[in-house]
């Protein structure tokens, strides 16, 4: 149990919606969510297909613990071939949508084909219909939710939607649920837009049952008590990291030209929680996703007198505020120290459906192009796209959200943008996906994690943090990255969030919850082997999509330009020394392909 043991398949080309049994052999091998969705994707599509074609599939996947009473059990993932990367994409979100989809009776929702006109999917348990989307196509995420909640007279209906960015095929369009949670990375929203499906509206009343309820209740209580550091995360959210990386010297600033930002203390928890000169405080309260007992989310208000919103009362209310990654991307990366401007652009990302990390990093690349003269006001439409300009940040974000003017170029992502203007070295990305908020020179393990991440640069595919803050020596980092990649793959397949691991949980706490919720025995060996199997399956998908060792690399800036300041001043990322050891530990050949023994051991032939 805890699996619903059925999937919903929706074919947009012929309009058929069918309920099928879940392949339990695969569920037992890949657990759920990221792992199980990736297995279905690899089995059902050609990895070489164009991500924006009808051949691509879009899979919404819950885990066995999604919708249960386990703390943070509200996660779901969107698995597809990424529009930004052309690699396997798995974008994870919280909020309440995933639990609602699970409660409606489905482990997976597989969307295939493409519609010839805009549609949306309406699910109420086993009642499923594709509906004409004329009334919401062209609307924002926020407008779409409001209109359809009113139409169905159901305030508890949950939505996962694209905004205009997804409709316009912005390469890093995301899928937004519950107004300000998002399956954010790799362009999953562009795939949804290409299929012309605006939103998934779901209401579930079936609920979720665990295999051994009494055992499960006890373990939920036991492990909840071990979230000893939850108060620290709820107080400052992930934004606490900005002071750590800034002081340490690993906060990417001005397109990684710098790794310490002189304006960081205008974006940090103190700035968020302290009244400004007008008496306005950015932070309103914290927020939690379904079943979460941590509450890291930020609910914030923009100062209504700020230039970005003074004539826009629709942005004067409270909504999802800055987290660490958005403060980096919409702050340090573009050299802007204006918390209201960054919060405003964050609101736009939620409203129009854009990944703020890729948006901010792409604007940063454009600012460097502007700085070196590769583009000018002629290309930008008169915008002085200078590092540090909050006005330019807000203006170009608005254009990108609407797909207008130079915003269309920003919507390409930094890789395509910098290639277009002749400077591909200025894209701070791996496999086409922009860096998260860590620099691979002062955090060598993170450099390796970025380079080897199956979905492109990502800070959540491994857990090298503690070792990276401890030392820049590379001994041991390949093993830490490999082992934690496997652990995170298991967590991402369970229906739980990875943040409890930073608040007191061990991997065994995750394992115990899965073991109690699911049939069969889930011991430590099976847990880690499952994670390893998932990682290798993703790798095989990418191999078939054309990726290989050549793509396990980092931008020249990180490999050749010494860190300009901070505790690691003078260092470059020693990726070439770590990568062979990493391949060896993985059981891969010199080209980064899983060898025959590895494939056989993991059941991947």
């Amino acid at each position: 149990m805890s699996w619903q043991k059925q999937i919903l398949r929706v074919n947009l080309s012929n309009g058929e919606c069918t309920i099928e049994p879940l392949n339990m052999e695969w569920a037992n091998q890949y657990l759920g969510q990221r792992g199980l969705g990736s297995k279905y994707l690899l089995e059902e599509m050609d990895p070489a297909a164009d991500p924006l074609s009808a051949e691509n599939k879009l899979i919404f996947a819950t885990g066995p613990l999604t919708g249960t009473m386990a703390s943070t059990g509200g996660r779901y993932s969107v698995i597809t071939k990424g529009a930004l990367t052309n690699a396997i994409a798995c974008s994870n979100s919280g909020g309440k949508f995933g639990a609602e989809l699970k409660a409606a009776g489905y482990d997976l929702l597989i969307i295939e084909g493409e519609s010839d006109k805009p549609v949306y999917l309406h699910i109420e348990d086993d009642q499923v219909e594709l509906c004409d989307a004329d009334e919401v196509w062209g609307k924002t995420v926020w407008q779409t939710e409001a209109l359809l909640k009113q139409k169905y007279l159901d305030p508890l209906m949950r939505f996962a939607s694209i905004g205009q960015a997804g409709e316009n095929l912005c390469r890093y369009a995301c899928i937004v649920n519950d107004l300000h949670r998002a399956a954010g990375r790799s362009g999953v929203g562009a795939v949804m837009g290409a299929k012309k499906i605006k939103t998934i509206a779901v209401r579930g009343t079936i609920g979720v049952k665990s295999a051994d309820p009494a055992k499960f209740f006890k373990i939920v209580n036991d492990v909840n008590a071990r979230l000893t550091d939850r108060d620290e995360m709820s107080a400052d959210g992930t934004l606490a990291m900005i002071d750590v990386t800034n002081r340490f010297g690993s906060l990417p600033t001005r397109n990684n030209r710098d790794i310490q930002f002189e304006g960081a203390e205008k974006l940090n928890p103190e700035a968020m929680q302290t009244p400004n000169a007008n008496g306005h405080t950015n932070l309103v309260t914290n927020a939690a996703c379904f079943g979460c007992t941590i509450g890291c989310g930020r609910i914030c208000k923009i100062d209504p007198t700020h230039f970005s919103v003074k004539d826009k009362p629709q942005y004067h209310g409270a909504s999802g505020g800055l987290e660490y990654e958005t403060a980096y991307a919409l702050g340090a990366a573009v050299g802007v120290d204006d918390i209201d401007a960054a919060t405003y652009v964050g609101f736009l990302c939620n409203e129009y459906g854009m990944d703020p990390i890729s948006l901010g990093s792409t604007i940063a690349a454009a600012m460097e192009l502007f700085d070196i003269g590769a583009i000018s006001e002629k290309e930008t439409g008169g915008i002085k796209l200078e590092f540090g300009s909050a006005e330019a940040l807000c203006t170009i974000a608005e254009l990108t959200a609407r797909g207008e003017g130079f915003g269309q170029d920003i919507g390409l992502g930094s890789k395509r943008l910098t290639e277009k203007y002749g400077h591909p070295e200025l894209s701070m990305s791996v496999k086409g996906q922009e860096f998260a908020a860590y620099d691979g020179r002062s955090m060598q393990g993170m450099g390796l994690a970025y380079a080897t991440s199956n979905r492109g640069a990502c800070h959540l595919r491994a857990d090298p943090y503690a070792h990276d803050f401890e030392t820049t020596e590379i001994a041991g980092k390949a093993k830490i990255v490999k082992d934690t990649q496997d652990e995170v793959a298991f967590i991402d397949s369970s229906g739980l969030c990875s943040f409890p691991a930073g608040c007191g949980w061990s991997m065994d706490d995750y394992r115990q919850l899965v073991d109690a919720a699911c049939e069969g025995e889930w011991d430590s060996e099976r847990m880690l082997e499952t994670g390893e199997r998932i990682w290798n399956l993703e790798r095989i998908f990418n191999q078939k999509a054309g990726f290989g060792r050549k793509d396990d690399t980092l931008p020249k800036r990180i490999l050749e330009e010494p860190a300009p300041s901070g505790t690691a001043k003078g260092l470059v990322c020693r990726l070439d020394e770590m990568l062979p050891e990493y391949y060896q530990l993985r059981g891969w050949d010199d080209d980064g392909n899983p060898n025959a023994e590895t494939r056989k051991r993991l059941g991947l032939d």
Binding site: M241, F248, G249
Partner: protein, 83 residues
């Protein structure tokens, strides 16, 4: 002499009463070392943290041999993760 000590993240709960959001001024004798300074802060032994002085990370084995200068800013960081 007076030195500025900054405790970021959850470490700020260990600042003396009356401190700012995440910083305080501490008085130390001119011949005191980093270890003496840290002992003035009620941070439990099991709480890990990094110490950075003027962009240089100080390893734990050097706490008792690191001299403090009047202009130094001593920064304590919790080794958090995520983002």
């Amino acid at each position: 002499m007076q030195v500025t000590v900054k405790l970021f993240g959850a470490l700020r709960e260990f600042l003396p009463a009356g401190s700012g959001f995440n910083s305080c001024q501490l008085s130390i004798a001119s011949n005191q070392v980093l270890g003496d300074l840290l002992s003035q802060l009620p941070i439990p032994a099991h709480k890990p943290y990094l110490v950075i002085i003027n962009d240089e990370k100080i390893n734990q084995q050097d706490y008792l041999s690191t001299n403090i200068q009047e202009q130094d800013e001593i920064v304590l960081l919790p080794p958090i993760k995520g983002g």
